[in-house]
């Protein structure tokens, strides 16, 4: 059974009197421990797919199943709790809280758990260690480079040990070197830590790190194929 399954999903946004159909009857299955790159032109619905998988948005029609459970039936509160336990988010612009140090940013999702302060701190440091930033734990985001900030964001995404990471153009704001480092890190998380990763990207080189590449066009799946680097 697929870990993530979008079944005949449509999404329509209304702007005033105008209706914008972003996704039209899209079906997509993502297997456990897959690393999927979602590609396609701007406005093709990539981020919308990511938002639906992450439980940030609801489809207009169709249904989204994650781990066999339908997200449709969850209330806003339950959906929030579900997100905190099952999904890790990585954004293009890192979205760290500037008032908090790296360690405290990583600790933030753990405030929603029953872990004690000491355990939260230890888990945050472990997550920072995984992304190679244990020595920057006391730095604020403004004291870190873009690549380092994205690593902190990844540490925040994995600290609660979710099964799925959704990454919205995680290398979009980085130079090639830093982008490669982040992609290598994601690959490690996928292979070594068995995280299922869904990544939106415009960059074909980034997509080469994924196991599967999905192309979207005008809200519909155009191609789903193994990445060229996969063997």
């Amino acid at each position: 059974m697929s870990l993530v399954s979008l079944q005949s999903v449509s999404k329509t946004y209304t702007k005033g009197r105008e209706r914008v159909d972003v996704l039209a009857n899209l079906s997509l299955d993502i297997q456990e421990n897959d690393f999927v790159a979602l590609m396609g032109p701007s406005g093709s619905g990539k981020t919308t797919v990511l938002n639906l998988i992450g439980g940030l948005d609801h489809p207009t029609d169709g249904e989204v199943f994650v781990g066999g459970a339908s997200l449709k039936s969850l209330s806003a509160g339950k959906l929030a709790r579900w997100r905190s336990q099952n999904i890790g988010f990585v954004f293009q612009f890192y979205n760290l809280l500037p008032a908090l140090t790296a360690q405290r940013n990583v600790e933030l999702p753990l405030l929603l758990t029953k872990l004690k302060g000491k355990e939260r701190k230890q888990n945050a440091l472990t997550a920072l260690d995984i992304v190679g930033l244990a020595d920057r734990s006391r730095h604020r985001p403004s004291q870190l480079s873009g690549g380092q900030q994205q690593r902190v964001a990844i540490a925040r995404a994995i600290v609660a040990d979710p099964a799925i990471l959704v990454c919205d153009e995680p290398t979009g704001d980085l130079d090639r070197t830093n982008a490669e480092e982040i992609l290598d890190l994601l690959e490690t998380l996928n292979r070594k830590h068995e995280k299922t990763i869904v990544m939106v990207t415009h960059d074909p080189k980034a997509a080469e790190h994924a196991k599967t590449t999905v192309y979207l066009d005008k809200g519909q799946l155009s191609v789903q194929e193994p990445s060229t680097s996969e063997n």
Binding site: R81, S84, L108
Partner: protein, 381 residues
């Protein structure tokens, strides 16, 4: 990092702005405590005054004088022990000053009614036997550097000396009250010196002692009934109430204080709300990220509301703390006409206002945070 620590970090994310807002709030609560500490006395009366002492004055205005003949009538009322009278002289000791309390009194009965006053028996005897004699409280002696035996010139705009020039008094002694903070100590001289003024034959007010404090209302009513429908009707009340009314001639202190505080807190609402709204707008994407990470709509709202409450309550605690120390420190040194009294209820009110203010200024950003749609907020920022 615990939730409280996270809250404090968020509150001080813009340190200077938060500190300036909190300083404004501290000032507001300090002002609240001090002004209320004054107003509470005017509202409640000088509760520490001896309530076995009553004051009888003209029913319609304390400026109107009463005939001296009232004294015997008042004395005849059941329960009245001693009666004396006094008249406001409006004496000025130094040109250019507004003047100090100066009373023309009956020297034989005044210290019987104010039996707690401490005065040297020899000085009192000399005061009672010398028509030009005067007694001054220690505070006036110190203020003007007087010495016993000195002649004191006094000008009165109300009662000018018919011979021209100032009134001259012989300072024969001094007197004091065991509790100066609650006493209204005046420069005292013989009523007989007013023989050449229009006021002679009348008294400004009467003070009397009664045998039972529980009968104060009954005796007050009996005195006023005696003069009912006469040309000189009276109004009798306890001394504390009399002082409260006298002070109220300066203006409705409570109303003035309420007006000032309303303006201060209205400004505070605008200022703090502005800080909170600015903070909210700057943090829309952060709040969206928090929701993305799994914080529920309600918990994000609670954080925003708690931040506003924390800011107001910390500021209030500092303001109340400093204000309490100031009020307790100065209340024993305030002049009788500007009393100040530390009242714990004022602190409780300040606490409630802090909670109300926090809830008010935090509610709009909290509601907005609750309604924040993650996808829209992340897209917009």
């Amino acid at each position: 990092m615990g939730r409280i620590q996270f809250l404090i970090r968020c509150m001080f994310r813009h340190k200077l702005r938060t500190i300036l807002t909190m300083l404004s709030l501290v000032t507001a609560f300090l002002l609240f405590l001090m002004l209320r500490s004054v107003a509470v006395v005017f509202e409640a009366g000088w509760v520490d005054f001896e309530e076995t002492r009553l004051t009888t004055q003209s029913k319609y205005s304390m400026i109107d004088r009463l005939p001296l003949a009232h004294e015997d009538v008042i004395h005849s009322i059941d329960g009245v022990v001693e009666v004396t009278h006094a008249s406001w002289f409006g004496g000025v000791f130094k040109e250019g000053e507004t003047g100090d309390a100066t009373f023309a009194i009956d020297p034989t009965t005044y210290f019987k009614v104010y039996s707690e006053y401490v005065v040297d028996p020899d000085q009192l005897a000399e005061f009672q036997s010398t028509r030009t004699a005067a007694l001054a409280p220690e505070s006036l002696m110190e203020k003007y550097g007087w010495e016993i035996g000195q002649k004191i010139p006094v000008i009165s705009p109300i009662h000018p000396n018919p011979t021209g020039g100032p009134w001259i008094f012989d300072l024969v002694g001094t007197y004091a009250s065991p509790d100066e903070s609650n006493a209204f100590l005046a420069f005292l001289f013989h009523y007989e010196r007013m023989v050449d003024t229009f006021a002679y034959g009348t008294a400004g007010w009467y003070m009397l002692t009664i045998d039972d404090p529980d009968r104060a209302d009954e005796i007050s009513a009996a005195i006023d009934k005696k003069f009912e429908n006469s040309s000189d009707e009276t109004r009798t009340m306890t001394e504390s109430e009399s002082f409260r009314q006298f002070a109220a001639q300066l203006g409705d202190i409570s109303l003035i204080v309420t007006g000032i505080l309303s303006a201060v807190f209205f400004t505070m609402i605008l200022l703090t709300a502005n800080t909170m709204v600015q903070g909210y707008h700057e943090r829309v994407s952060e709040l969206a990220v928090m929701k993305t990470l799994g914080f529920s709509n309600a918990s994000v709202s609670v954080y925003i509301l708690a931040e506003a409450l924390l800011m107001c309550c910390i500021s209030a605690a500092i303001g109340i703390g400093v204000g309490t120390l100031v009020v307790i420190g100065i209340q024993d040194y305030m002049p009788p006409m500007i009393p100040i009294y530390f009242d714990p209820i004022t602190c409780a009110w300040a606490g409630l206002i802090a909670i109300g203010l926090g809830a008010l200024v935090g509610s709009v950003p909290a509601i907005n945070a609750n309604r924040l749609v993650i996808v829209d907020a992340l897209h917009a920022h």
